[in-house]
C-alpha cells in the first residue's frame, strides 16, 4: 500500500502519460467526459478557464473552484518477428488540475489555473533492442496560469492568461548498439533536468452567436523548455571513453508546441448540450532533439514532427439539478512522420471514447467522474535516422498501445 501511494504521490502533478506527441489532454473531468471539448462551453465549472480564458466571466457563480486527478494507464507492446523480439512498457500517471475563478463584477473575472498538459513516460527493459534510442524516459511539466476575462458586451468576452511552466525530464539510453565496459555491461547515459522554467501565454475569445450557439477560439503560445548545464551521468564506460565523458553536463531544448483551438457549443434545450471543436497543434517546431555535451560532442536526434489536428465532440445531458451525464470522443492525429517513429513516444493515430457524470452532493458541491479509453491500431513503426559510424541504421517493429483512465474531481461553486 505504502509503495503504491509513493508511486502515485511521485506522479502527482506529473502527468506521466501521453496523447498526441507528448501532450496529455486531460485538464478537467467534466470536459474530458465530453471528449475534452470546452473552448465554447460556457456555464460549466471552473475547468472552463483552461479551455478558454474568456469563459471565466461567463460562469454563473461568484466563486468557482474545481480540482481533480486521474489515474492514467498507458500500455505499449512491441514485437519484431524477424528477430523474435518482444517487449512492453506499462506506465501509470496521475495528471491533475486545480482551478479557481472569482467574478469581481458581472463583466470582469480573474482566475488561477494549475494543470499538467505535457508528460511522457516509457519504460522499456534496460538494454532492450531499442536501448540505443531509449531505455526509459520520464518527462513532466506543470503550468501555473493566472487568468483574466472581460465581457466586452452581452455576447462577446475576451480573456488572457500568463503561463509559468516548470518541468523536467529524466532520460536514459545506451551509448551505442554494442558499447560495453570491460565486464560486458552496456554503457549508458542518464540525462536529468529538474526545475526547468519557461513562460508563455494563453488568449481566447468567446462569442454567443444566439441563445443556443456559442463560438470559442483559444490560442496557447509556443514554449521552449531549455536546459543548461543539466546533469549527464555516464555509467559503465570502457576506460578509453572515460576521459571524454566523465564530468560533462548537457544543454538541450524541447518545444511545447503552440495550440490553436476553435469550436462551437449548441445548447439544444435546457437538458441537452452538444459541443464540437478542433485543436491544431503546431508540432512542426520539433525538428530535432539536439543534446550538446560540455565536452564538445553533440547528439542530434531528428524528429521532424508535423502539425497535427484533433477533432472532438461531446454531449451532456442534465436530467435534474443533481445529475449530469456526459459522453464524447475524439480523433487524435499523430505528429510523428513515417520513418521517425521513436520508441520514446510510440504513438500513432488514435480514436478515443469518453464518458462521465457529475453528481451534486449539495447544490454547491459536485463530484465529477470521468473515464477514457484510447484505441490505437496495430502499427509498424520504425526510426530510420540513428547514425552509426556515419550511416543511418533503422530500428522498428510492430507496436500496439492501449490507454485508459479513470478520473475524479470536485467542483465547489458559490
Amino acid at each position: 500500500m505504502k509503495k503504491i501511494i509513493i508511486l502515485s504521490a511521485a506522479a502527482m502533478l506529473a502527468g506521466s502519460v501521453y496523447a498526441g506527441g507528448y501532450r496529455i489532454s486531460m485538464q478537467g473531468q467534466r470536459q474530458l467526459a465530453m471528449g475534452h471539448t470546452g473552448v465554447a462551453v460556457i456555464n460549466g465549472n471552473a475547468e472552463s478557464i483552461f479551455f478558454n480564458p474568456a469563459n471565466g466571466v461567463f460562469l454563473e457563480n461568484r466563486f468557482s473552484f474545481s480540482a481533480g486527478a486521474s489515474a492514467l494507464f498507458a500500455n505499449t507492446k512491441f514485437q519484431n518477428s524477424t528477430y523474435n523480439w518482444t517487449n512492453s512498457s506499462e506506465n501509470l500517471g496521475t495528471p491533475a488540475y486545480f482551478y479557481a475563478n472569482y467574478k469581481i463584477s458581472d463583466r470582469f473575472a480573474v482566475g488561477l489555473a494549475v494543470y499538467t498538459p505535457y508528460g511522457s513516460a516509457v519504460d522499456w527493459d534496460t538494454d532492450w533492442q531499442g536501448s540505443h534510442l531509449v531505455n526509459n524516459i520520464d518527462l513532466k511539466a506543470f503550468f501555473i496560469q493566472p487568468t483574466v476575462s472581460y465581457m466586452v458586451n452581452d455576447y462577446v468576452s475576451i480573456g488572457a492568461g500568463l503561463i509559468y511552466v516548470n518541468g523536467g525530464v529524466e532520460f536514459n539510453r545506451n551509448l551505442s548498439r554494442s558499447m560495453t565496459d570491460d565486464q560486458g555491461n552496456r554503457s549508458d547515459v542518464t540525462l536529468d533536468a529538474k526545475g526547468v522554467t519557461a513562460w508563455g501565454y494563453n488568449v481566447g475569445l468567446t462569442a454567443r452567436l444566439d441563445d443556443y450557439v456559442t463560438f470559442g477560439v483559444n490560442y496557447r503560445s509556443h514554449i521552449d523548455m531549455e536546459v543548461e548545464n543539466g546533469e549527464a551521468t555516464f555509467s559503465d564506460l570502457p576506460d578509453f571513453l572515460k576521459p571524454t565523458y566523465e564530468g560533462t553536463t548537457f544543454s538541450a531544448s524541447m518545444p511545447l508546441p503552440a495550440e490553436l483551438t476553435f469550436g462551437f457549443s449548441y445548447q439544444i434545450n435546457e437538458q441537452w448540450l452538444a459541443a464540437v471543436e478542433m485543436n491544431h497543434t503546431y508540432w512542426n517546431k520539433y525538428e530535432s532533439l539536439d543534446i550538446e555535451f560540455s565536452n564538445g560532442t553533440n547528439s542530434v536526434n531528428p524528429r521532424r514532427y508535423k502539425n497535427s489536428n484533433t477533432y472532438r465532440a461531446g454531449v451532456q445531458y442534465t436530467p435534474s439539478e443533481k445529475l449530469s451525464l456526459r459522453v464524447g470522443g475524439y480523433y487524435d492525429e499523430t505528429p510523428v512522420r513515417s520513418g521517425y517513429f521513436a520508441p520514446e513516444t510510440p504513438r500513432n493515430n488514435s480514436l478515443a471514447g469518453t464518458l462521465g457524470f457529475t453528481y451534486n452532493i449539495t447544490p454547491k458541491l459536485g463530484v465529477d467522474v470521468s473515464a477514457l479509453f484510447i484505441h490505437f491500431d496495430e502499427f509498424e513503426g520504425h526510426y530510420d535516422h540513428y547514425i552509426e559510424d556515419g550511416l543511418p541504421v533503422s530500428f522498428g517493429g510492430t507496436y500496439r498501445s492501449a490507454v485508459g483512465s479513470v478520473g475524479l474531481g470536485l467542483s465547489y461553486n458559490f
Binding site: I4, N75, N84, L92, D389, V393, G404
Partner: protein, 525 residues
C-alpha cells in the same frame, strides 16, 4: 482497509483493461524447424567453429562462437542443450595455452587495441595464460571445433593424445577434451548422436599455406599426409576422401546439416590490409634520404638492366606512395651476376665482401606491385631497422627485401586460388549428393569486400579495424583472419538464412549490431 481495496482494484482493473493485443502475437509457435531436427546439434570444424578470435581461444569469446549463437536460435524451436569445451580455467579471460604450467610458444594471449595519447595499435594483452592443456576434460561436446585442424586431422586417431604433442602429431586444443588418447574428432562428434550438424573444414588445408606467406609446399599429387608440413596445401584427392568420410559419418543416422565453403584470401583482411605501397616520402625520411636511396637504387637498376631485369626495381618517388622491396623466389637468381658486375666497376670501389653481400641480398629482389598481397604481420616489419644487417641494407622492405613469408606473390596466389576452388567444388558436390544445405561463405565474404547491407541499413565490410570511425562496423577480429563476436553473429545469420531456405524452417535472426567489436584498452601492463 476498504479504501485500499478499492484503490488497488482500480489500479489492477486499469492495468488489465488496457492490455493491448497483437493480431499475431509472437510466441515460440511463430517459428518452426521445418524439415530439420535440432534436438542434438553438433558442430565440427576448426577455429572458425570453435569461436577463436583476436588470435586465441578465450572464455568470453567462445560464448559468441557461431554454433553457440545458432543453438540459441534453435532452442526457440525445440533445439536441445549446446555444450562447448570448458574455459573455466581462463580466469582472466586472456586466452593462450599452458603445458605443464609453461606458456606454449605460438599461443599468445588475446589481442586488443591499445589506445594512448601517442596513437593506437594492436597488442597482446599483458599477463600469463591460465589455460592448462594437461587438465584433461575427456568429454565430447556439441561444439567439436578444433582450432588449427585441417580436414584429415578430424579423422586422425591420436590427434588428441597428449603424448603426441612433442612430435606435432596432436593438437593441444583437442588434447584438452578428447574422450581418450585414441579418439578422433569425428568419433567424439558422432558419439553425441547428432540430429543436425554444421561442418566448416578445409580452411587450414589451403589457408595455412596462405598465412605462412606461401612458404609451405603444395602437396597436390602426394596422398601421404604423414609427410605433410603444417603450411602445406592438402592434395585434393585426400581432401575429397576425408570430406566424404566426415559427411558419411555425420549423416549415417539421417542427420541433416549445413556445410560451408572456404573463403578466398582476397576477402580476408589479413591479406588485404597492408597495401603493396605503404611507404610515403615522409616515412622514408624525407627528400634527402630519398635522394640517397635512389642513388644506390639507380646503380642497382643499371646493374640489373645489363641482364634485362632493370624493371625489378623502381626509384623512390617524393610524392607518390612507394612499393615495398620483397624477395621473390620465382625470379632468376642473379646474385653472382650482380656481384660480378659490381666488382667490374672501376670507380665504384666495392670490396669483394661488399659486392658479394649486395649480390646475395638483391639476387631475387624486386619491388612489389598491386598484384602482390601482404600479410597483416608485415606491417610490424616494414620499415623496421634490423640489428644484424649491415648499414645501409638494414631497413626491412626498403633497403633489404622483405622475406617470402610476408608476401603472397601472384604465383602463390594462383596456387591458393586453384586449391580453394577445387576444395569448394568438392564440398559443394558432396553436399549435393547428400542434399545438404550449403552456406557459401566464399561468396558471402567476397561480397563483404565491397560491402553487404544488413536489413537495418548498416553496411558491413571485410575491412580491418581502423579506429573509432569503423568500430561499430568491423566484422573481423584483430588477428585479421577470424571474425569478432559481431562477425560470428553475422555468419550465424547467413547460416540461418540458408537453413530457412533449404530446410523450409522459420528461425529468427540474431541482432548483429548488439555484439561487441574490438576490445580497446588504455594501458597494457
Amino acid at each position: 482497509m476498504k479504501n485500499k481495496f478499492i484503490y488497488l482494484s482500480v489500479l489492477a482493473l486499469g492495468l488489465v483493461a488496457c492490455e493491448p493485443e497483437f493480431d499475431n502475437e509472437l510466441t515460440p509457435d511463430s517459428y518452426s524447424s521445418g524439415e530439420a531436427d535440432f534436438t542434438t546439434y553438433v558442430a565440427i570444424g576448426n577455429s572458425l567453429t570453435a569461436g577463436y578470435m583476436d588470435g586465441t581461444m578465450f572464455r568470453s569469446g567462445q560464448q559468441n562462437s557461431f554454433p553457440n549463437l545458432l543453438a540459441q536460435q534453435f532452442s526457440v524451436v525445440g533445439g536441445g542443450e549446446f555444450t562447448q569445451p570448458s574455459y573455466a580455467d581462463d580466469v582472466n579471460d586472456l586466452g593462450g595455452l599452458l603445458l605443464g604450467g609453461q606458456p606454449i610458444q605460438g599461443f599468445p594471449t588475446r589481442m586488443a587495441i591499445l589506445m594512448t595519447s601517442d596513437g593506437s595499435g594492436p597488442v597482446n594483452l599483458a599477463g600469463t595464460s591460465s589455460i592448462e592443456v594437461s587438465d584433461l576434460q575427456q568429454t565430447a561436446y556439441n561444439n567439436m571445433g578444433v582450432p588449427g585442424a585441417k580436414s584429415f586431422h578430424l579423422v586422425a586417431p591420436g590427434y588428441g593424445n597428449i603424448a603426441n604433442l612433442a612430435t606435432g602429431r596432436a593438437n593441444p586444443y583437442f588434447v584438452r577434451h578428447a574422450t581418450s588418447p585414441d579418439a578422433s574428432v569425428l568419433s567424439d562428434a558422432l558419439s553425441m548422436n547428432p540430429t543436425f550438424f554444421t561442418n566448416w573444414i578445409g580452411n587450414n588445408d589451403v589457408l595455412s599455406y596462405a598465412t605462412s606467406g606461401g612458404t609451405g609446399v603444395n602437396q597436390e599429387g602426394n596422398i601421404d599426409v604423414t609427410t605433410y608440413g603444417g603450411n602445406d596445401i592438402t592434395d585434393p584427392q585426400v581432401f575429397a576422401s576425408v570430406y566424404s568420410t566426415l559427411i558419411d559419418g555425420l549423416t549415417a543416422n539421417g542427420a541433416k546439416g549445413v556445410v560451408m565453403t572456404i573463403p578466398s584470401v582476397t576477402s580476408i583482411p589479413y591479406f588485404t590490409t597492408v597495401p603493396y605501397n605503404p611507404l610515403t616520402a615522409e616515412q622514408l625520411g624525407g627528400d634527402a634520404v630519398i635522394d640517397m636511396l635512389n642513388a644506390q637504387l639507380g646503380q642497382l637498376k643499371q646493374v640489373l638492366a645489363v641482364f634485362g631485369e632493370g624493371d625489378r626495381l623502381q626509384l623512390f618517388s617524393k610524392t607518390a606512395a612507394n612499393p615495398v622491396l620483397i624477395k621473390d623466389e620465382t625470379l632468376t637468381d642473379l646474385s653472382q651476376q650482380i656481384t660480378a658486375v659490381l666488382l667490374s666497376l672501376p670507380d665504384a670501389g666495392f670490396s669483394q665482401e661488399e659486392a658479394m653481400a649486395i649480390g646475395t641480398i638483391f639476387g631475387q629482389a624486386r619491388h612489389a606491385t598491386a598484384d602482390d598481397l601482404f600479410t597483416l604481420t608485415a606491417s610490424g616489419v616494414i620499415g623496421q631497422t634490423s640489428l644484424v644487417l649491415p648499414n645501409p641494407f638494414n631497413i626491412m622492405g626498403v633497403t633489404y627485401p622483405l622475406d617470402d613469408m610476408y608476401v603472397l606473390i601472384p604465383a602463390e596466389q594462383a596456387e591458393i586460388s586453384t586449391a580453394t576452388t577445387q576444395f569448394n567444388q568438392i564440398i559443394r558436390s558432396i553436399a549435393a549428393s547428400k542434399n545438404l544445405a550449403v552456406a557459401d561463405m566464399n561468396d558471402i565474404l567476397n561480397q563483404l569486400v565491397s560491402g553487404i547491407r544488413a536489413t537495418d541499413g548498416q553496411i558491413y565490410t571485410a575491412d580491418y579495424f581502423s579506429g573509432i570511425g569503423n568500430m561499430n562496423r568491423v566484422l573481423f577480429s584483430l588477428d585479421g583472419v577470424h571474425p569478432n563476436a559481431r562477425g560470428y553473429a553475422f555468419v550465424t545469420n547467413e547460416i540461418i538464412k540458408v537453413i530457412n531456405r533449404h530446410y523450409k524452417a522459420h528461425l529468427p535472426l540474431v541482432n548483429v549490431a548488439e555484439y561487441p567489436g574490438p576490445k580497446i584498452v588504455t594501458s597494457n601492463n
